[in-house]
Point group: C2
Chain length 173, copies 2
């Protein structure tokens, strides 16, 4: 991420990335298919966190509460790597093809949440809607977090606030 910030994503070679990380190129390719994948392996790990959090959530929680808990867990992990996540986002924002892959990863979070909810017994239509809306909330909160310089606004707090906002905005009279 340092190298992408210093020389730009296009300019950085796998050789340089591997050197900076103290790895051989061969070891690099054992972990990543290409230099784009460096930016997205974290998303896959976070997807597993989402699935695990839903799977071990109390059965007393509603689907919405379960998805909220899972996305708050992920928000906490991203907050711990605040500077790294922000540097990564700068790289992604500059490259439309990376933005498309980012959208695909978020769609796969939604699929994973849907599947995990269904395994707990939630019916497909409700599971899908809860997951899609949860990811919409997360994406909105994430943009708010990227836009703020104030470290008091944690991603966790913003995700929690945005779930509240959604409830208020879409409440049926």
């Amino acid at each position: 991420m340092e190298l992408y910030a210093e020389v730009g994503f296009e300019q950085a070679t796998v050789k340089e990335i591997a050197q900076r990380a103290g790895l051989t190129e061969r070891t690099f390719f054992r972990h990543f298919a290409d230099k784009r994948e460096v930016l997205f392996s974290g998303s896959r790990q976070l997807q597993e966190v989402l699935e695990q959090t839903v799977a071990r959530g109390s059965v007393a929680l509603s689907p919405v509460e379960t998805v909220t808990a899972a996305l708050l867990e992920v928000a906490g992990l991203m907050e711990e790597r605040r500077e790294l996540v922000r540097k990564r986002q700068t790289v992604i924002t500059l490259h439309p093809e990376l933005q498309e892959r980012e959208l695909a990863k978020l769609a796969s979070w939604s699929q994973a949440l849907t599947g995990a909810l269904m395994q707990r017994g939630t019916a497909q239509p409700e599971a899908r809607l809860t997951a899609e809306a949860g990811v919409a909330v997360f994406r909105t909160a994430f943009e708010r977090w990227i836009a703020t310089a104030d470290p008091q606004h944690t991603l966790r707090q913003l995700v929690s606030d945005t779930f509240d906002d959604l409830g208020k905005l879409f409440a049926r009279p």
Copy 2:
């Protein structure tokens, strides 16, 4: 769309597509950058419908009501081309690279709705969340519509029902 269904998306050549539509290749390329774009020009037109519907919506409507009206308008237009839209979806589902472009188009619907709401005076955070959640509702309803064989379940009705479902699921106690 007929040709894509008959010979497959990869096999269909621009020459054949143009022939089937009674056009020269040259005319084809005046309208579409490539054969993928044939599948997505409709999304751009629908995006304009979204923007126009928000822009001319009564100021008495809330942002959520405005976005709902815009997405119902688009749902009605898609319902009129039910068979075409379903054939198109079959092609997209078979090709991951088309799915990625579809995700990008939906993200651009959300951006367009956000911008149109802000032009009516809605603050950015509320506009963004309303647009993102609205698109999440639409996407979920669209999947339900694709999955059902019953022509009584119109996309318009499903979008309306899914907005109601969201309101119920996320209501704050």
